[in-house]
């Protein structure tokens, strides 16, 4: 262990090593609670084999109900070059403000140049059903209205944050399945890190069969993933 630490040239005084026996998930869970950990960093596979996915690895199990903010590293070699682009979720949820704030301060420390805040809007929110040309126009207008509302909401959140950092912040409004769209977006944009809200309740076995929100990303991770849990 010490050898490893020397390799990455970390100061020994800063590191505390805890050895504990038990089920890895439970140990990680209790230790992070006990020590009031700010961030838990885990390595994870990008895709998991079918059986593994449904049973669950340590990393996935913890991410389904994180004890604290969690960073899942799937692309370790990439991070040698530093982070440059980050995608943050901006869904209409009470946790989002905190997540964006954490993301911005994190981005500032790691010298991230680009932040895209993606506001996912579930399709149901656009009430007009598209049947013909008339309803198509109506739906497009409605989407435009939702888009400007969303942008305004995010703008308000960002304005309240004092230390915004130097990164270039963009917003993007995407209409689609929550959780799925942002993962696909991160993949298309070749993002380095995706920052998400923590799940509201523990994600169970059934959620793996009928994936929603975070489960979409966990089943096929486009890049490193940070799940922000607010412990205050």
């Amino acid at each position: 262990m010490n050898e490893l630490l020397e390799k990455v040239a970390l100061k020994k005084e800063l590191v505390e090593i805890i050895w504990e026996e038990g089920n890895p998930v439970e140990v990680l869970y209790t230790v992070s609670k006990r020590e009031k950990i700010d961030m838990l960093i885990l390595g994870a596979m990008q895709n998991e084999a079918m059986l593994r996915y449904y049973i669950g690895s340590v990393a996935r199990k913890i991410s389904r109900k994180p004890p604290c903010t969690l960073l899942l590293v799937t692309h370790p070699s990439k991070n040698e070059t530093g982070l440059s682009s980050v995608v943050v979720n901006g869904i209409n949820h009470s946790k989002t403000g905190n997540t964006i704030e954490t993301a911005l301060s994190f981005a500032n420390q790691f010298d991230v140049s680009d932040i895209v805040i993606v506001e996912e809007v579930p399709k149901k929110q656009v009430k007009t059903k598209i049947d013909d040309d008339k309803s198509l126009i109506k739906a497009a207008q409605e989407k435009e209205r939702v888009r400007s509302q969303e942008e305004y909401r995010i703008k308000n959140i960002i304005e309240k944050i004092e230390n915004k950092g130097r990164a270039h912040i963009q917003t993007k409004c995407v209409f689609g399945k929550l959780g799925y769209s942002i993962g696909h977006f991160a993949e298309v944009k070749k993002t380095d890190l995706l920052i998400m809200n923590s799940p509201d309740k523990k994600l169970g076995f059934f959620d793996r069969f009928f994936p929603h929100d975070l489960e979409y990303i966990l089943s096929d991770m486009p890049c490193d993933l940070m799940i922000v849990e607010n412990n205050d």
Binding site: T74, H75, K78, D131, D133
Partner: protein
């Protein structure tokens, strides 16, 4: 619309409806007889369908009435429910028709109007051809005047055709019935080849009716001989029209045969209607989009009414609709007027209708069967690739042998198995069919961008369709398949239609990222799957639509175009851009010389990281030889390119006096002084006045990149023009 114009469109609709009714009348009679129900059942469907759908439907220029696809279903239903008692079977079938009307109504309310797009197109083609063959098998014997020919299944019935012909040739007296049938078939076949304009003012089926009635009156008025055709071989329309109203009998509602009948009728009615509506929308001169869900509800209601008074199910029919459009129809009033004229004819001329021999109508029906199962159809399927032809034939044969529902099920399972066989990563396939795989958003320049991941096949096409349908008219859309491994031929065909639709409505759709997907045939709808690297080198493959367009563009500017992979790109690696990236291969390469300098435009696949951390990229780039030594620099706006690690130490170089330029662009390089002197006033003005590109130099060559994905055709053109302009600017 002015009053005058409105009157004119009214008149046009009524006229179009009149001409359609001339075809609809004989067809309605014929389809009803072929279905094994009284001829009036077809008339009822025409009249009720025309009126109800015209009043509450959601399409514009369609015609509704009895459809040829349902002939086979109704015939089977009557036998299955009624046994030997055909009239009883008819009343039971009416009950099934009424219930299927409710099914259609529910489908409409559940907004399942896109259901028809779910079935793989080769399966549907196979089923339609089978229906065509069945119609021919049943009707050709009637046409030849041989009633009562029966066989164990439809294939044997087809095999009976020579026997019927021989019996016809050997008959003792003149076989008037058979001759009338054959003449009607010939009229249907050669109608379009007859050059006289006056002849074309009456549609072919009406000529047949007129001929048959004329034949009768020749004997009645001019000949001393008795009319040579027996009563059984003539149409029987009751003198009193109210006699033809028959009510459904729901006694068999709880039998499994009834359930199968309802499912079959609903399925075929839905597919036939939805396919027709889609096809008619393409013909609509005003390019309107039909509200299919509303149309489904209207068809369901019409079918309920029709079934309650003894009529056939009501569906949207393509042939009559296209006649409608060709004759200037513009609104649903045409459908209404067609129904009104059919009703009028029956009321006024019912005694004339009784003079028409069944064989004449059978001739018309054999022709409609032939249209569904024509050799051209087989040829088309054969050209679409071996896999598609195989699915088509399997569906066709199993429909002939085991009925429609089993036929289409077998077809779908075959399609699925073949796709599984074609695929490389099969587990991946099971992961994706039932979950989202599309992402649609608006890019900052207003273009819509739609990315599809994983497998794109008939199983998950409806989701893609929903996204495509939500793109406003007149928008430009880029469909990116670079994250997808497999696209099946149904999807390719649908996309082809979407491309046409977008173009027609003033927009544009372009498919990118398919160029390195392999296909089995040159057919534009052939399924495409991601190639293995080894096969890319060996095989040039069949070009995609995008590659054809690129080739045309290359010709236009007299550059060379090579679609296959080129590995020798030593120049590329010298650019800082590729410092941390590994180049996989370049393809779709343009070579050209402009102003004595080499140009090279290409798509390139490269990746960062290795193994699990490997991230693949696909971009379109342009390399230009500068012909002189220039300082190394990078110029960009797209912040995403900042990630290039090798240039971490580079500082943004601001050029004084050009605040706007310095603000908008990031200019970096090691030799600040040389760069400052290289960026002359003219050059800065050039960059300021042109769209953003990422430009970098390695001292001798310039690398120009736009965006973070493969370029669409228009973007490729813009890139080439930008390069040329830049070279011209540098030469000054």
């Amino acid at each position: 619309m002015t009053e005058d114009k409105q009157n004119k469109s009214w008149a046009k609709d009524i006229m179009a409806g009149f001409i359609v009714s001339l075809i609809a009348l004989p067809l309605a009679l014929g389809l009803a007889i072929a279905s094994g129900v009284p001829p009036m059942a077809g008339i009822i469907a025409s009249v009720v369908g025309g009126v109800v759908v015209a009043l509450i439907g959601g399409s514009h220029v369609t015609i509704t009435g009895p459809g040829n696809g349902l002939v086979v279903v109704i015939l089977t239903t009557i036998v299955a429910l009624g046994g030997d008692n055909l009239f009883l079977g008819y009343t039971y079938a009416l009950a099934a028709i009424v219930v299927s009307g409710f099914v259609l109504l529910i489908l409409g309310f559940l907004r399942l109007g896109n259901l028809a797009d779910f079935f793989p197109s080769s399966t549907i083609q196979g089923m339609l051809s089978a229906i065509g063959l069945i119609i021919i098998a049943k009707q050709i014997h009637v046409m030849l005047g041989e009633s009562g020919v029966e066989a164990a299944n439809n294939l044997f019935l087809l095999a009976e055709i020579p026997n019927s012909l021989i019996r016809l040739a050997k008959s003792d007296s003149i076989p008037y019935v058979g001759i009338i049938g054959i003449v009607s078939l010939l009229i249907m076949f050669f109608y379009n080849k007859i050059p006289y304009k006056a002849f074309h003012s009456v549609p072919a089926p009406m000529w047949i009716v007129l001929m048959a009635i004329g034949f009768y009156y020749y004997f009645e008025l001019f000949s001393d001989l008795p009319f040579p055709i027996e009563l059984e071989s003539l149409i029987q329309v009751p003198e009193n029209i109210s006699d033809s109203i028959v009510f459904p009998d729901f006694e068999k509602w709880n039998t499994s045969a009834f359930a199968i009948a309802v499912i079959s009728i609903s399925l075929i009615a839905t597919i036939e209607s939805l396919l027709s509506i889609k096809a008619v929308d393409k013909l609509d001169p005003e390019k309107r989009r039909s509200n299919v869900n509303r149309d489904l509800k209207a068809l369901g209601l019409a079918t309920i009414f029709s079934g309650f008074i003894g009529g056939l199910p009501v569906v949207t029919v393509i042939a009559r609709s296209s006649v409608n459009v060709n004759n200037g129809a513009n609104s649903r009033k045409a459908n209404f007027s067609h129904a009104a004229f059919v009703a009028l004819f029956v009321v006024l001329f019912s005694q004339f209708l009784n003079r028409i021999p069944l064989s004449a109508l059978a001739g018309i029906l054999v022709y409609t069967g032939y249209k569904l199962a024509s050799p051209a159809q087989f040829k088309k399927m054969y050209k679409a690739g071996k896999d598609q032809f195989f699915i088509f034939i399997i569906t066709l044969i199993s429909t002939l042998l085991f009925g429609l529902i089993n036929g289409i099920l077998i077809g779908m399972v075959t399609t699925f198995l073949i796709q599984l066989f074609l695929m490389e990563n099969r587990m991946e396939f099971f992961k994706h069919p039932f979950r989202s795989n599309t992402l649609l958003y608006e890019e900052s320049d207003g273009k819509m961008y739609l990315s599809v991941k994983g497998h794109s096949s008939f199983l998950n096409f409806l989701r893609l369709k929903q996204q495509l349908d939500s793109v406003p008219n007149g928008k430009e859309i880029i469909l990116d398949y670079s994250l997808s491994q497999f696209v099946d031929s149904s999807v390719m065909e649908h996309l082809h239609h979407y491309e046409e639709d977008f173009k027609k409505k003033g927009g544009n759709m372009e498919v990118i990222g398919l160029d390195i997907h392999q296909s089995e045939s040159s057919h534009p709808f052939a399924a495409r799957r991601m190639m293995k690297l080894t096969s890319i080198i060996k095989k040039t493959g069949f070009l995609t639509d995008r590659q054809h367009k690129l080739k045309d563009f290359a010709k236009e500017i007299s550059w060379n175009f090579k679609s296959n992979s080129v590995f020798e790109t030593p120049v590329l690696e010298t650019f800082p851009f590729f410092k941390t990236k590994t180049i996989d291969h370049a393809y779709n390469v343009f070579n050209g010389i402009h102003n004595g300098l080499k140009f090279e435009l290409f798509d390139v696949d490269f990746y960062e990281g290795e193994l699990i951390a490997r991230e693949n990229h696909k971009l379109t780039m342009l390399i230009i030889q500068t012909g002189k030594t220039i300082p190394q620099f990078r110029l960009d706006k797209e912040r995403i390119f900042d990630r290039i690690a090798g240039l971490a130490g580079f500082q943004d170089i601001n050029i004084e006096g050009y605040e706007d330029f310095s603000h908008r662009f990031l200019l970096r390089g090691n030799d600040e002084e040389a760069i400052r002197s290289f960026f002359t006033d003219r050059l800065i003005l050039f960059f300021e006045s042109h769209p953003y590109y990422h430009v970098e130099s390695n001292g001798e060559y310039l690398l120009i990149v736009k965006g973070q994905r493969l370029a669409s055709i228009s973007e490729v053109k813009a890139l080439a023009v930008f390069g040329k302009d830049l070279v011209a600017e540098l030469a000054v």
